[in-house]
Symmetry: C2
Subunit: 197 residues, 2 copies
C-alpha cells in the first residue's frame, strides 16, 4: 500500500482540520498515513521567529483566524482559540511519538479537539493524561516512556529530519518520492500525487 | 451577475497561475471577475520586509519554486524564474490600472506570461510596450495615461484599500460580502462562496 508521511505540529492551527480529515481522504485513494509529530520551533528559530508568525504579523494572523473559522464551519468542526496561542506543544509531541500506529493517530486527533475545539491547555499534564485515558492508554506508563531520554532524543531527530527535508511549516504531507505539500488545503493534491507514484 | 474582486501583484509568483485560470473557473460558476492590480510593497513594508519573503526565508523560497513548478506543470504553463526576482512591478501595475475591462485582463495575462513563462523583464518599457501592442492597444497613449498624476494617485488609493481590507498577500479574491481568500489554491473556494452569496 502506498504510504504518505503526515508531518504535524500540535500548536499549528491548520494542522487541526488536516488531522481530522487526512485519514478519510487517504483511504479514498488507497493511501496509508504515517503520523509524524514534530516541532516548528527550531525551523521558525532559523527564520528569526520566536513566536508564531500569526502573532508577529497581525495581518496574517487576522486572515488565518477567519480562514480557520470558514474551514472548520465547512467541516463541521468547532473552533475555539486557545489561550495562550500558540500552545506549548512539547509534551504532547513527546507523547504522540511514544505511541504507535492507531494510538498515535487517536491521541493526536483528541489533542487537536481539546486544544482547538474546546480551547483547553495542551501543555497541562492532567489534560494530556485524560486524553490518554480516553483512548484506552495507561497515562502514567505512557508519560514515563514519553519523557525517557530515548524518546526525547527521538523527537529531536524527527525535528532535525523535518528541517533537513525543508518543511516550511505545518502541516506537510511528504510523498515516498520526496515531494512536499504544505497546508491543509493541499491534502488532496498530495494524496493524488502519492497515489500516482 | 455576481462579481468577485481579483487582487493581484505582477511580482507575485502565485498570482501567475491564478491570473491564467481565474476567468475560466469564474465563468463555470456564473461569476464575473474584477481585475484589481495592486502592489504588495506597502503591505510587506508594514511587516518589516524590504524584499520578497521568499528571498528572506530560503526554506519558504525553495518550497515555493518547487510548488510553482508542480502547479504550472499541471496547468500546462511554462515556468521560468525572472532575474532579478522579484521584478519591479510598478509600471506594469500603473499600465494595468490605466486599462479597463477586457484590455486590463488581456494585458495582465500577457505580462505574467512574459515574466514567468519567458523570464523577461517587466520593468522594461520596451517589453511593456510590446505587450500593449500585442493586445491591440496604442503603447504611447497608454503609457502617457499610465504615468499621469491621476493614475498614479489611483494606484496609491488601490494599495491603500488593499491594506485597509487586510489583504495578507497576493493573489486574493474578495467577495461582495467582504470575505478574503488568499492564494491560487483558494480560487474555487472563493468562487463557490461568491456564487452562494
Amino acid at each position: 500500500m502506498t504510504a504518505i508521511d503526515f508531518w504535524y505540529e500540535f500548536a499549528s492551527t491548520y494542522s487541526y482540520p488536516a488531522a481530522m480529515r487526512v485519514e478519510a481522504r487517504a483511504a479514498e485513494r488507497g493511501v496509508s498515513v504515517n503520523w509524524r509529530p514534530f516541532l516548528l520551533g527550531p525551523i521558525f528559530a532559523d527564520a528569526g521567529w520566536r513566536d508564531s508568525p500569526f502573532n508577529i504579523y497581525p495581518t496574517k494572523g487576522r486572515y488565518m483566524w477567519r480562514d480557520m473559522q470558514r474551514i472548520c464551519d465547512a467541516l463541521g468542526l468547532a473552533l475555539r482559540r486557545p489561550e495562550p496561542f500558540p500552545q506549548n506543544s512539547l509534551l504532547a509531541a513527546r507523547i504522540a511519538l511514544a505511541l504507535e500506529g492507531h494510538a498515535r493517530a487517536a491521541f493526536s486527533k483528541a489533542v487537536y479537539l481539546a486544544e482547538f475545539a474546546e480551547g483547553r491547555s495542551i501543555s497541562d499534564r492532567a489534560v494530556l493524561s485524560e486524553i490518554l485515558a480516553s483512548i484506552g492508554a495507561e497515562p502514567a506508563a505512557v508519560l514515563n516512556l514519553a519523557e525517557s531520554a530515548a524518546n526525547k532524543e527521538r523527537l529531536k531527530a524527527e525535528c532535525g529530519l523535518a528541517k533537513s527535508l525543508g518543511l516550511p511549516g505545518a502541516p506537510c504531507l511528504v510523498t515516498a518520492d520526496g515531494e512536499i505539500f504544505w497546508g491543509n488545503d493541499r491534502i488532496e493534491q498530495a494524496l493524488d500525487w502519492a497515489g500516482r507514484a
